[in-house]
């Protein structure tokens, strides 16, 4: 029953990902990348990670598309300088072998939503049972991001601030 929704979604993800890489026109590539982000957001929501889906939809499909488009309008929208040589024979032989190895390794991963998997037995049960009592925050994700792991979020905010400053330093050099 799950497969009726899951498989077409994953196939669409693969198609859009490959399309974004292979299309020659960079503006089309940006739009395909935006639709890829949108599909990925649906996958996150389907897996139950609604907060991640929200951020993916807003940042990946919205803001990043605007940034890419503005960069392309400022530079050159055709992919003329990048000469793509055909892939070497080693890639055609080696990548399937690598894929098979990864699939073989994936056998040993814990099953999806297994209550006994290492991710579910240690710290996450503590978060789930205590976060509402300790922080009065029903959304566990927000409680973890902003309280239990506030240092990580602080550094992430610093990273975003640095990105803005770096863009200003590089692109607004000649102004004022």
């Amino acid at each position: 029953m799950i497969f009726s929704f899951e498989i077409p979604l994953l196939i669409l993800l693969l198609i859009t990902a490959a399309g974004a890489i292979m299309v020659k026109d960079l503006i089309s590539s940006v739009f395909i990348l935006g639709s890829y982000s949108f599909l990925l957001a649906i996958v996150w929501a389907w897996l139950g990670a609604v907060d991640v889906a929200f951020v993916e939809a807003v940042v990946g499909a919205g803001l990043a598309t605007v940034f890419f488009l503005m960069t392309l309008f400022g530079t050159h929208p055709k992919d003329t300088r990048i000469r793509r040589s055909p892939a070497p024979l080693v890639a055609y032989l080696g990548l399937p072998v690598l894929g098979l190895l990864l699939l073989y390794a994936a056998e040993d991963l814990p099953k999806f939503s297994d209550p006994q998997s290492p991710a579910n037995v240690r710290v996450s049960t503590a978060y789930l049972t205590n976060s509402l009592i300790e922080t009065h925050t029903p959304n566990v994700v927000t409680a973890v991001l902003m309280d239990y792991r506030a240092f990580d979020t602080l550094i992430e905010t610093g990273v975003i601030f640095t990105a803005g400053i770096a863009c200003a330093l590089l692109l607004r050099r000649n102004q004022e």
Binding site: F54, V59, L63, T135, T137, M146, I160, F161, C167, A168
Partner: protein, 149 residues
């Protein structure tokens, strides 16, 4: 470079959409403790509403003038976040341990933590909104002619 859009439909729709986007962004920001969302998504949407105004109304309209004032506040969001951590230090505890926020009128530790989460989320949202607008204004200054060579 950015030019004003001439289509009446786009301009009218943008005029209607901007307040709606801002309202939804504030909802996402303040409701992040109870449902999906939070500082990251809310901040991006807050910035996106102004970016829409910049792109549609052009460099001489109110949104762009407001945005150019806003980008002088780069880092205020980070300051709010670190300031909340500092208040925790002043309250006699560890950095970013909101139970030590020394604010009169709030008695239980859990409510202090809830308030700390809200304040830091506002900090994150302000930081991300300002950064998004700042990057868009930086990108709009790329000179398209010189890179054609």
């Amino acid at each position: 470079m950015i030019h004003a859009h001439d289509s009446v439909i786009v301009r009218t729709m943008t005029r209607i959409l901007i307040p709606l986007i801002q309202l939804f962004a504030l909802y996402v920001l303040f409701f992040g403790q109870f449902g999906p969302g939070g500082g990251f998504a809310g901040g991006v949407m807050l910035g996106a509403s102004l970016i829409l105004g910049i792109l549609v109304f052009g460099p001489d309209a109110p949104p762009c003038r407001l945005a150019k004032k806003v980008i002088h506040g780069d880092g205020i969001g980070l300051m709010i976040f670190v300031g909340v951590g500092g208040l925790c230090l002043i309250g006699g505890g560890e950095f970013l341990n909101y139970a030590n926020l020394d604010i009169p009128g709030i008695d239980s530790d859990a409510r202090r933590r809830s308030l700390g989460i809200l304040l830091t989320q506002i900090g994150v949202a302000v930081d991300i909104a300002v950064t998004a607008i700042s990057i868009v204004i930086s990108l709009s200054l790329i000179n398209g002619e010189e890179s054609h060579d």
